[in-house]
Every structure is written in C-alpha cells, then in structure tokens.
C-alpha cells in the first residue's frame, strides 16, 4: 500500500507541474497550449546538454528552466498572441503545429535514441517498506516544493491577485489598472519553468527521449481537464487521480475480483486508462470535477 502511494506520488508530481502550468495559462488566455508538453522535453534536453557541457546537474537544471521560461514567453508574444486574434481553436491547432516543429528539432539535435542523465547509482532506500531511489526522493521533493511555491504565489502575492483578477474578468482587470499582458506573460514564464522542471524530473527518474513530451500530452490534459481547465490547483488533484489510475491499472491484481488468482491488465493499457478516464469525465462532467459552470457561451 505504501509502495502504491509512493508510486502514485512519483508519477503525480511531474504530471501536476505541467498540468498546473497548462491550466493557469488557460485561465488567462482561454486556449489549451499543446506545445507546453514540448517545453517539458526542451527543459530536459537543455539540462542534459548543459550537464554534458560540464555544469553540475543542479545548475544545469536551473538554467534550463529559466531558458524554457523565456522561450515560452517569446513564443507567446510572437506566435500565440497573433493566433489568438483568429480564435482559440486556431490557436490550439497552431500549438499542435508548433509541437511538431519542436519534435523535428528534438530529432535533429538529440537524435532518436533515448538518453539518460549522468547520475550516481545508489541502492534504493527503504521507507515504510516502500522502495525508492535517492534521485526519486530528491526530484519528488523539488517538484512538490515548486508546486507549493506556485500555490503561494497564486494566493499570497500581488501577482497572484492580479492573475486571478485577470482570469475572472480581463476587461475589468485592465480597467482597474492591471497590466494584463504583463500578468499573462509572467504566468506563461512560470508555466514554462514548471513544464521544464517536470520534464527534467521525468527524465531524471527514467530516460529522456524526443517522445517524452508527446507521451505526456494526454495524461497532462486529462489531469488538467479533470481538475477543470483554468483551475490551477484542481489540476494538481487531477494529476494525482490520473497517476493513481495509471498505477492501479498496472500494479493491482484484479484476479480476486474475477475469481482468478492472478489477473493483471496489460501494462500497455496504463496510458489508455487515463485517456478513458478523461473521456468519461468529459461525458459526465464536461468542465471538470470542480467547476460548476455549465457552459461557456
């Protein structure tokens, strides 16, 4: 049981980082930016490159996060502000197109083969009977910390207040003197940083491939939609639910339920579980579990 919780948490934090970024940006500019998952890959790739260039991993990671944040802002100003003038559906298709360009860049720069960070391999730690490696522990800690910091920013600072005001009513917010464009770009920067951190976290725990981001696309969207797109902390809860569903599908023995001793669902269905969950939620509660609004007109 403890192992299950640990596994869920390990999966959930990185998912949550990207999903929170997706949701917060959505709350401000009303379109789901698919390219965000590619920012995660970019972060991992940059950190890897900087580490290979001789920087210590921590420095490389911080630099990579900052760089991705800047890239996110530049793309928002150059690409998405323009696309959004034509509507949110166009902007979303545009973000998909941008994702493909990212994939091309990853293929050329990193090659198709998966890579790993250079890390010392330590024997796994034991924690209440659950196994986890030191890297997992540190990475989960950092990601959780980042989520905490973001929550603090959202609820305890002026920026957070401006952000929530802009999300609720951007016209009113700018009428009261809030520079909504600046607020949006700050949040876009933060979303880039969080996505990069999520990407680095994922590749520290496993391997880093050009597919990393696209593989995260639907789980991240599932988490964000589950929490209600635009609801940042809902996305964190959504991430836990998705991670739990994925872990459950692969790790739980369904045998007793069907009167057999051993019955595992094939591991390939782990991802399908989160997508199915997403579809079911969209059927029953189209705007997420925590949103009472019926329709955006």
């Amino acid at each position: 049981m403890v192992q299950f919780v640990v596994d869920v948490l390990i999966r959930a934090v990185d998912l949550a980082l990207i999903a929170i970024g997706l949701s917060s940006v959505y709350s401000l500019i009303r379109f789901p930016n698919v390219a965000l998952v590619q920012y995660a890959t970019t972060g991992a790739l940059l950190a890897l490159g900087l580490q290979m260039a001789g920087l210590p991993l921590v420095v490389a990671a911080i630099a990579a996060c900052a760089l991705v944040g800047i890239i996110a802002v530049v793309l928002n100003v150059v690409v998405f502000e323009r696309l959004l003038r034509a509507g949110s559906a166009i902007a979303m298709v545009g973000s998909l197109a941008l994702s493909m360009v990212f994939s091309a860049i990853f293929l050329v720069t990193a090659g198709p083969r998966p890579k790993r960070f250079e890390l010392e391999i330590n024997p796994p730690l034991r924690f209440l009977g659950a196994r986890l490696t030191e890297h997992q522990l540190i990475s989960v800690g950092i990601s959780a910390l980042a989520i905490g910091v973001f929550a603090l920013i959202l609820f305890r600072t002026d920026l957070g207040r401006c952000m929530r005001a802009t999300a609720t009513n951007s016209v009113l917010a700018s009428a009261t003197g809030i520079d909504t464009r600046k607020v949006t770009n700050t949040v876009v920067f933060l979303s880039g940083v969080m996505a990069a951190l999520g990407g680095i976290g994922l590749s520290v725990k496993g391997e880093m491939s050009a597919q990393l981001g696209l593989d995260m696309l639907l789980p991240v969207f599932a988490a964000a939609i589950l929490g209600g797109l635009g609801n940042a902390l809902g996305a964190a809860v959504g991430a836990v639910v998705i991670a739990a569903a994925e872990t459950m599908v692969t790790n739980v023995n369904f045998g007793p339920l069907f009167g057999e001793s051993v019955l595992f669902i094939p591991a390939a269905y782990a991802t399908a579980a989160s997508f199915l969950l997403l579809v079911v939620v969209l059927l029953i509660k189209p705007y997420g579990l925590f949103v009472s609004e019926v329709k955006r007109v």
Partner: protein
C-alpha cells in the same frame, strides 16, 4: 520512376479523400476533430478483419463503414455539450485509446504486427496495369467524393452547416438541430475516411496500429489548412501538394547526405511549420473559401 509516381499519385488521392472528409468537418461544420486518423483506421481494419475472417472485400468495406459510423456517433455524442477545444482533446483521446486497443487485442487485430497479406484489388493484372487500375479507382472515388461534398455544401444543408460553424446560437434560434447536424456531418465524413482506409489496406496489403498515430491526423489538418479550409478544391490541392513534398524528402536527404532521422524531422517541419505559417499569415489557405457565390470551388 514511373511506378513511383503512380504510387505517389495513389497516396495523394487517398489523402485527398481524408482531406475532403476533414474539410467537411472543420471547414464547413467547424468541428475541431483531432481523431480523424481513427476514422481512416476503421476502414483499414474493416478490410483487414474481413480478410482475416475469410470474408470478401464487400464485407470489408461494409465492416469499415459500420466501424466508422459507430466511432463518428461516439465523437458526436462527446461533442454534444463540449467547447471546441475540449472536444478536440476528447477526439484525440478516443483515437489514441482505439489505437492502443488495436495494438494489444491481437486476437482481432493482429496486435503490433498487424494483419498482412491483404490481397491487392487488381492483383491478377500484369505489373504496370494493376497499380494503374488502382489509381483509376482512387481517382473515381476522389471525384465522387468531391461531387458529394460539393453537392452537400452548395445546398441549403451547406448553409445550415456554415451557420452552425460561425453562429451556433443564431442557427439554434432558427430551428436548426445542432446535435443532429454534427452527427450527420461526422457520419458522412466518416464514410469518406473509411473508403480511403479500405482502398489503402488493399493497396499496401498490410494494416497495423502504427499507421494510426496521431501525427497522421495533423498531416491531414495541414493539408486542409494549407489548401484552404472551407474549399473542397483547396483540400484536394493541399493533399496532393503535401503528398508530393513528402515523397521527395528522401531524395533531398540523399542529395545532402543527411542521416535518416532527418527524413522524419523534415516531414515534421513541413507539416508543423507549414501549418503554423499558414495559420499565422494566410489563415484562409491557398484557395480560400468563396463567400456568397453559388459555388464553393
């Protein structure tokens, strides 16, 4: 070289069908379908499953159309009360779940290995004649589909679709049943896509889950947007253009002496970059929709 050109022409026609189908949904109905490839997959697997059960091609096309119509109905049900962005993600999720199913349910679909040995449609004929006949069939299909789409969109039904695309509230206030319109459009589009999949299966003679990755959907999107969404001729031109560009990417790679991953990267750049460029600078595409005229190209 001649046979290669015929091959490219056949593929261009099959993608032309898919592009017409997506154009009907996106360009006229305003339905942001990110799961288009699975409608094509219904056609390919219909043909393959009929073949593996020793049923003839007539059963194959019938099976494909039934699959496609069922999936279209599911898409439409999901779309009943979802915004365009949510619906796009939902269709992507459904398509991925179905692809994962095809990848794992080997008893029906052959799993990751797929189903091979599907007979050529004109296999009895000597070598240059067989592919030429296939090309002829594809051309006939494409022209028939074009006529069908043209007829639909220039009729009063087409006016209803366009009104739904842009002013759903106005359409509802005039008595148009939007849910029914969406369902019908998706079903017609699904039949076109399934026809393309059926011919594809009997031409390539192999059907597998890797043919159904979501990047195929985005390729079709690029064809529609670059060609000109809301214009049938545009959709076909977009398909031919992208297909011929794709076909010559390997030659460019060889000429420049680049490693093989550059083929994939260049194709991704063509699709993603092309799509993005058109969305940003020429949203109406190469051949824009005609407004107010009796014809729509």
């Amino acid at each position: 070289m001649f046979e290669f050109l015929i091959h490219v022409a056949i593929m261009a026609c099959l993608y032309g069908l898919l592009s017409l189908s997506l154009n009907l949904q996106v360009g006229f109905g305003g339905l942001v379908n990110f799961g288009q490839v699975i409608l094509f997959g219904c056609g390919t697997y219909g043909a393959a499953i009929a073949f593996s059960h020793q049923l003839g091609p007539v059963a194959g096309i019938a099976l494909g159309i039934v699959f496609a119509v069922v999936v279209a109905a599911a898409f439409a049900r999901l779309g009943r009360n979802l915004g365009a962005d949510y619906w796009g993600i939902a269709t992507l999720a459904v398509a991925e779940v179905l692809r994962i199913l095809a990848n794992n349910e080997a008893w029906l679909t052959g799993g990751a290995q797929g189903i091979s040995g599907i007979p050529l449609l004109f296999g009895d004929m000597p070598r240059p004649m067989g592919p030429l006949m296939t090309l002829g069939l594809c051309l006939v299909l494409l022209l028939a589909a074009w006529w069908l789409c043209q007829r639909l969109t220039t009729s009063r039904y087409g006016l209803a679709l366009k009104l739904m695309r842009e002013e759903p509230q106005l359409a509802a206030s005039l008595g148009y049943d939007l849910a029914a319109l969406k369902t019908q459009t998706l079903m017609v589009a699904a039949v076109l896509a399934a026809a393309s999949g059926f011919v594809f299966a009997h031409y390539i003679t192999f059907v597998g889950p890797d043919q159904l990755v979501s990047s195929e959907t985005f390729l079709i999107w690029a064809m529609v947007i670059i060609g000109g969404s809301g214009n049938h001729l545009g959709a076909i031109v977009g398909a031919i253009l992208m297909q011929f560009l794709f076909a010559f990417v390997p030659f460019v790679k060889d000429a420049l002496g680049l490693p093989s991953e550059y083929v994939a990267a260049m194709r991704l750049t063509l699709v993603g970059g092309g799509l993005l460029a058109f969305l940003m600078w020429r949203t109406q595409g190469l051949i824009p929709e005609r407004i107010g005229g009796k014809q729509n190209g």
